[in-house]
């Protein structure tokens, strides 16, 4: 549907669940204006209910024939969880600390619970953002056609002028990564930090990641590490490909996995605590091939041989991990003879004005200003 596609790869073997990405996203985009309960980026423990609760059973996506499936809209209190307050004032009078509300659920509710019985319990983390799918369920579900994929990079955005808050998009997204903003009565979602990306910076979640697990680039950029991980080595796989939306966030599946203990608490050789069936559920049958490749390349490296794949996964340099194509966006703007903020206006005209909007005179540019907090710079930022 789009000319090019931006993608992200996350190496789950290196995710320590520190939530720095979550906080980077929250402080940048979702700590205000009705988005408080939303986590465009969250990190959840698997196996687990995730965020929102049991999202994998909440429907949406496409069936085998390519038809959109029914889904549900999660409840703010029961399924997402709302930020809560404590009774700090009462502590001065000898009160005991408790929350002001009854807690039902939260975005990190079952952290580190995982699966398996002690001593053979196990878990790993999955950070999740919008997958900016090639066949997005949210886009398909919208009766207003208010959701679109940007031509230049495949980022999926909500046209807030057209959105009427019907919320079919939330039912239609099998990842439940589009949210209802009750304050403005419209749907909002991860925007892949497009104002950053257009300046040559990766999304905040990727840039801030302390484990350097995230790679960002165009899927057709054969020199890029994203291309190599996804297409050349095929070790990065989409999450729940069976949902049928062709997601563009890819995961290097967890390879490191402690062996099981026997009754005497001795480790059982060649055993795996994480059931392969669970990895198959998450990443499809391709997970076998991906894990084999990872294992072989690791062995090569252990023997002192060259391994391009291992070098990539070590993540030496942000310059290589975040390859936004040498000012691709700036060139697009120059080709259109644009500079400064004009550049964004044209690239994202449809973020303001709907694909089908004819007669509307746009009067309110405030959203536009909110997503573009930086003053226009004369020289585009290079890679960091």
């Amino acid at each position: 549907m789009s000319k090019r596609q931006l993608a992200m790869v996350m190496d789950l073997n290196k995710c320590i669940g520190c939530q720095t990405c979550t906080v980077a996203c929250k402080t940048q985009w979702t700590n205000r204006n009705g988005r408080e309960y939303m986590y465009w980026n969250n990190v959840e423990t698997h196996p687990g209910a995730g965020y929102p609760k049991n999202w994998m059973e909440a429907g949406g996506g496409f069936d085998q024939e390519g038809n959109l499936k029914d889904g549900i809209i999660p409840d703010m209190v029961l399924d997402y969880g709302v930020p809560w307050d404590y009774n700090h004032d009462e502590l001065f009078n000898g009160g005991l600390l408790h929350t002001k509300e009854n807690l039902e659920y939260g975005p990190n509710w079952d952290e580190d619970v995982g699966g398996g019985e002690y001593p053979n319990s196990y878990f790993f983390y999955i950070p999740r953002i919008c997958n900016h799918c090639s066949n997005p369920g949210c886009l398909a579900a919208c009766p207003r056609e208010a959701i679109f994929k940007r031509e230049q990079d495949g980022i999926v955005l909500v046209d807030l002028e057209r959105c009427q808050g019907y919320r079919y998009c939330i039912a239609g997204c099998p990842y439940k990564k589009i949210y209802f903003n009750p304050k403005i009565s419209k749907s909002e979602k991860c925007i892949f930090c497009f104002p950053r990306v257009e300046k040559g910076l990766p999304p905040a979640c990727a840039h801030q990641c302390v484990g350097r697990i995230r790679f960002v680039g165009f899927l057709d950029d054969e020199e890029g590490q994203v291309y190599k991980l996804v297409h050349k080595y095929k070790v990065a796989l989409p999450l729940r490909p069976d949902f049928g939306t062709q997601p563009n966030v890819y995961y290097v599946p967890p390879l490191f996995d402690a062996p099981k203990f026997d009754d005497k608490m001795d480790s059982i050789e060649n055993s795996r605590r994480v059931p392969i069936e669970y990895l198959e559920l998450l990443f499809g049958k391709e997970v076998h091939q991906a894990l084999d490749t990872l294992r072989k390349e690791m062995e090569k490296r252990a023997k002192g041989e060259e391994s391009e794949l291992m070098d990539i996964l070590i993540a030496y340099s942000h310059r290589d991990m975040f390859r936004l194509d040498n000012n691709y966006y700036q060139k697009e703007a120059v080709a259109k003879n644009l500079k400064g903020s004009e550049f964004f206006k044209v690239i994202d005209q449809r973020y303001l004005q709907g694909a089908n909007t004819k007669k509307v005179e746009i009067k309110d540019y405030t959203f536009h200003e909110k997503v573009l907090p930086l003053p226009p710079r004369e020289n585009g930022h290079g890679h960091h």
Partner: protein, 375 residues
């Protein structure tokens, strides 16, 4: 002919009937001329009973809403219209046991609401617009009012079919109040008779919709009336137009024969209706509830001249073609089988449904009679 004569005596009040397609007079609303339009004039005027039926043309993808939709029942409303030199005032009252106001801190609750729809194209020589958001030949204006916490949520739209609704700026008032004792909403719309997009005069088609938040109603998931006709002004409407829009009320055929004819003519190959569910969902408009909100003449036009009311299908991305090649980003193309029209080189929309104008007058009337029972 008898009906035609009663029409001319518009000032006489007509006995209210339950079935919306039995008597054309039931669908006529005479507007009262007043000097000042305000809440008190509107709350004291004579109203007319109308019935709103659950709308179902395409399958929407909210699982919980679809469960509630299975139990959706028609509802009654009272409507009244006044006008003066500048403005038109409309009052709509309906019973709602479950008052729902969309709260400011939830994700899955919806507010009650109502809307008033006018075609921008109507009158002598003009065919009726598609009731659900208009069509490419008949854009409609829709005035929407919703009960939303902390907001005066009212919007005016112009629309020519699903997905095309576009907000326009217009000065008007639309209020909605709930009477806790009567369990009743009263909505009042006051707007100019003439705006850039819509001029109201003579005999004006108007349709009403009501949303029940408790039933997770929003968008096309709503109760809707057929076209009603408001008479503005003292002069008698054009008789040929009245004859046209009053076509097909009362007994005009045999519904069992109509169903047989629809099957014989292969309507069930694309449309779903009644027990005919072999067509893939979404291939063509679902006719299961078409009778509740369609005027007989609209049904006739749709059969003999589908190109007159080309309905844009809902978002085509809902169906993709798994047998086609994926593009370089892994995307499947849309499944064109589910578009309801073909676009000509000049951009004109042509319905995929062939015209059935070769059917005899009686066959068409039998089919209309059957379609009227689907609600």
């Amino acid at each position: 002919m008898k009906k035609y004569l009663t029409l001319l005596a518009l000032s006489s009040l007509v006995v209210v009937s339950n079935a919306s397609t039995e008597d054309f007079n039931d669908d006529l609303i005479e507007a009262k001329q007043v000097t000042k339009i305000d809440e008190s004039t509107l709350s004291s005027i004579e109203t007319k009973k109308i019935i709103l039926y659950p709308q179902y043309t395409v399958h929407l993808n909210d699982k919980d809403a679809n469960k509630k939709l299975q139990n959706a029942k028609p509802i009654e409303a009272e409507v009244g219209v006044v006008y003066n030199k500048k403005d038109i005032g409309i009052v709509i009252k309906w019973n709602d046991e479950t008052k729902s106001i969309q709260p400011s801190m939830t994700t899955n609750k919806f507010g009650d609401g109502t809307s008033v729809e006018f075609p921008t194209v109507y009158g002598k020589g003009k065919t009726l617009a598609y009731i659900g958001m208009g069509d490419s030949n008949h854009p409609v204006m829709v005035y929407l009012k919703k009960a939303v916490e902390g907001k005066d949520y009212k919007k005016a739209f112009i629309s020519e079919g699903f997905g095309t609704m576009t907000e326009v700026q217009e000065k008007y008032n639309f209020t909605m109040k709930y009477d806790e004792n009567k369990k009743e909403w009263t909505a009042i719309l006051v707007k100019p008779l003439k705006t850039q997009d819509l001029i109201l005069s003579g005999l004006v088609p108007v349709a009403f919709a009501v949303w029940d938040g408790d039933s997770l109603n929003r968008d096309g998931n709503k109760m809707i009336s057929s076209w009603k006709f408001v008479k503005l002004g003292k002069s008698n409407p054009d008789t040929s137009y009245i004859k046209y829009i009053s076509y097909g009320y009362g007994e005009i055929g045999n519904h069992q024969k109509g169903k047989e004819l629809m099957i014989q003519n292969g309507c069930n190959g694309c449309h779903r209706f009644d027990d005919q569910t072999s067509a893939p969902e979404g291939l063509a408009p679902n006719l299961s509830k078409i009778g509740g909100y369609s005027n007989p003449i609209y049904l006739k036009e749709s059969i003999i001249n589908p190109n007159d009311v080309v309905i844009k299908n809902l978002n085509i991305n809902r169906h993709y073609n798994k047998s086609a090649d994926r593009d370089k980003n892994g995307a499947y193309p849309n499944n064109d089988m589910y578009t309801w029209y073909i676009k000509s080189e000049k951009g004109k929309l042509q319905s995929k449904m062939p015209p059935y104008s070769h059917l005899s007058e009686q066959d068409i009337n039998d089919i209309i009679t059957y379609l009227k029972t689907l609600k």
